[in-house]
């Protein structure tokens, strides 16, 4: 088991290293220099800046400096356009908690709702409740989160005025939660639908299995057999779809955050791409890669715990 986990972690680090290298090369080999002429910078200043950040040296050397800075000083470079001369990591440090907060809350808020809908649909299979849940699943999965976000912003925010139109940075306490409500809601539609669809299929299959018949024959009531035997068995694989869903939600939050002007990673990524602040873009992409690799790692490890065949490297 320990060897398996170590194996996965090493694979993850190698992948991350490859992504860092590719991202660095892509950004540096793009035409145009970081500090453009024609702005309010004179040639002397540009030369000085280029010398300071080693932009005047060969690309291989720059790559060496880049890796050296990351590994020795945890220095991801310096922002050139968005907030000149501020280290990239400083900019990210304020942003990461907000993004993680919004994404995790929307994921965990979606869980009970999705589970309730899925369970309801499974035990009332082929009734009107089931059809309504199926309709909801199709709508929530199909309609993109930014369309939901625009709708919420217009109707809940602008027309009814129940919630602030954009995220309120300075608010504290209840007001802050109020301004976080709409981005969270917009992001949670997709996980709700996915959890509901998955649990419905899983539970409906479990309900037909032999041990459920046995449980009923033993004299358990419908509720007892469903909760103790049916539900418990269909919960096991649920974890493995929730964790990868986090990467999915994070992708949607890129756009939703910029719609609601949330000062998180999403808005920052959009701004840094538009301002072509490349060092910042590389660092943000690394953040997203790291998150998605960690989710894959957790899934791999949990599969390894549940299913010994995976970690022994047996035939699939």
């Amino acid at each position: 088991m320990f060897r398996y986990i170590l194996n996965r972690i090493v694979a993850m680090v190698i992948t991350l290293f490859i992504i860092v290298s590719i991202a660095f090369m892509v950004v540096r080999l793009m035409p145009g220099s970081v500090y453009e002429m024609g702005g309010d910078l004179s040639q002397t200043v540009i030369d000085a800046l280029n010398a300071k950040y080693h932009f005047d040296e060969p690309i291989i050397k720059q790559y060496g400096y880049f890796l050296q800075n990351i590994f020795l000083h945890w220095d991801w470079g310096t922002s050139a356009k968005m907030r000149p001369n501020v280290p990239v990591f400083e900019i990210l440090k304020d942003r990461i908690p907000i993004t993680l907060q919004i994404n995790l809350i929307s994921l965990f808020a979606a869980l009970p709702v999705g589970m309730a809908a899925g369970i309801l649909a499974a035990i009332r299979k082929n009734t009107i409740v089931d059809h309504l849940v199926s309709l909801m699943v199709v709508l929530f999965i199909s309609i993109p989160s930014f369309v939901f976000a625009a709708g919420l912003q217009y109707f809940l925010g602008f027309k009814s005025g129940a919630f602030p139109i954009i995220y309120n940075v300075s608010a504290k306490g209840l007001l802050r939660w109020q301004s976080m409500f709409m981005p969270i809601l917009a992001l949670s539609f997709d996980p709700i639908a996915r959890v509901a669809r998955y649990l419905r299929a899983e539970l409906a299959e479990t309900m037909n299995s032999e041990f459920m018949l046995l449980a009923k024959t033993k004299g358990l009531t419908y509720a007892q057999s469903t909760i103790r035997h049916g539900l418990r068995n269909s919960m096991v694989p649920l974890m493995n779809i929730i964790i990868p869903m986090f990467a999915n939600v994070l992708g949607g939050s890129l756009v939703v955050e910029s719609i609601f002007s949330v000062p998180g990673m999403g808005g920052l990524m959009v701004d840094s791409i538009n301002a072509s602040d490349h060092m910042l873009t590389v660092a943000i992409l690394m953040f997203y890669s790291l998150i998605s690799l960690i989710t894959v790692l957790i899934v791999d490890i949990s599969y390894g715990i549940v299913d010994p065949r995976v970690r022994m490297g047996g035939e699939k």
Partner: protein, 385 residues
């Protein structure tokens, strides 16, 4: 319950003389099948049309595709034609406006206007005021919200109208939206086709040969799969520049892996079957075995999975437009229009509504259509994921 009649005795009663041997060249009086045999695709079609939701979805896709092809040519505007004096016009369709049901009539609410000015025909031309809302007194002035026919208010001719309104540069939204739908559909379909071609070739080679070849090829797909999609797409577009081709390529670069894996697992299912062994014994070449004998088995899953990949490609395209890596102006796409409309959402919501409705309808329809196809191709998977 009687499953079959034991009529042995009945036949025993018939005298033996009545029987004679039939020769090979004689006509054999056998029971003919009343029904015609139906092929694989007919079978799929019969099951597909039973699913009403997916038939409706297919019809909606066809309607949107029709408008995507012919919609931009239906009125006199071009997609990049700017009317700087006619910016942010509300939608107006003449024959619906005549019905007077309050939609598509060019109506627009001007807020906080002085009541006393309403009769001034210089400001409000004849017949432009449709209704007066919310009268109130603000520091002695009578202030109202006026609902006007914006086209008359701007002093435009009756026959000049933007069916779905115009955007912040005075471009016709109807034309742009259908052109955008066309672009989005082309991006989605071309990228999915490329995925299928690459995935099928890669997956069949990997699945058919197995062993070391398979191991190396699957390792490669694992590495590609480990890269997060957002990151790979963003980086690719940053290198290749924005444009239809690079958006398509950025979607292909990772998504073919799924098709390849699916095809590979299909090959693993079928390559050990007896009929494959029989064909190989008869000396059929590898290529023929792969493409004629084994691959047709996976046609169902391939079509289904590519149908389900289309909405995710449409989504990815809009997503790129939102983060500023979409198509170059003035070329529209659904995502470009949504992200532009988002900026003026609170004042001119119609600029978001139309593209949002089209993209939602497309996504819902493709998902339902894909589900219907999956059930039709493989009824045992019904309701499963």
């Amino acid at each position: 319950m009687v499953f079959y009649e034991n009529d042995r005795e009945k036949y025993d009663a018939i005298s033996k003389d009545l029987f004679r041997l039939v020769q090979k060249d004689e006509e054999i009086h056998d029971v003919e099948f009343k029904t015609k045999p139906i092929g694989f695709f007919m079978d799929v079609w019969l099951r597909f049309v039973k699913n009403k939701a997916s038939v409706v979805a297919a019809a909606i896709i066809l309607i949107i595709a029709f408008f995507a092809v012919f919609g931009p040519g239906m009125n006199e505007y071009r997609y990049d034609e700017q009317h700087t004096a006619r910016i942010n016009m509300p939608p107006k369709i003449p024959f619906i406006a005549k019905l007077g049901i309050g939609v598509f009539d060019g109506g627009f609410t001007l807020e906080n206007r002085k009541y006393d000015n309403l009769n001034d025909t210089d400001r409000y031309p004849e017949g432009s005021v449709l209704g007066i809302l919310n009268p109130r007194l603000v520091s002695g002035e009578r202030i109202v919200d006026v609902e006007v026919d914006y086209y008359k208010y701007m002093g435009m001719d009756d026959d000049e109208c933007f069916w779905f309104g115009s955007d912040y540069l005075g471009r016709d939204i109807w034309t742009r939206m259908w052109r955008g739908a066309r672009v989005s559909l082309i991006i989605a379909i071309v990228s999915v086709c490329c995925n299928v071609v690459i995935g099928v070739i890669y997956g069949s080679i990997s699945g058919y040969y197995g062993g070391k070849v398979d191991m190396v090829m699957m390792r490669i797909t694992e590495i590609i799969n480990a890269f997060p999609r957002i990151v790979i797409v963003t980086l690719f577009i940053m290198v290749a520049g924005t444009g239809m081709f690079s958006i398509i390529m950025s979607l292909v670069i990772k998504d073919w892996v799924n098709t390849a894996r699916m095809v590979r697992s299909q090959f693993y299912r079928f390559k050990g079957r007896e009929y494959v062994l029989a064909a190989r014994t008869l000396g059929v070449k590898d290529m023929a075995l792969i493409f004629r004998h084994i691959l047709p088995n996976s046609i169902g899953p391939i079509i289904t999975s590519s149908m389900i990949a289309i909405p995710s490609a449409i989504f990815a395209e809009s997503f790129l437009a939102y983060i500023g890596l979409g198509l170059q102006a003035p070329e529209p796409s659904i995502g470009v229009m949504l992200s532009q409309g988002q900026k003026v959402l609170l004042h001119y919501p119609t600029q978001v509504v139309f593209p949002a409705v089209v993209i939602s309808l497309l996504m819902i329809s493709f998902n339902l259509f894909g589900n219907g196809l999956r059930d039709a191709f493989d009824p045992t998977l019904r309701g499963a994921e």
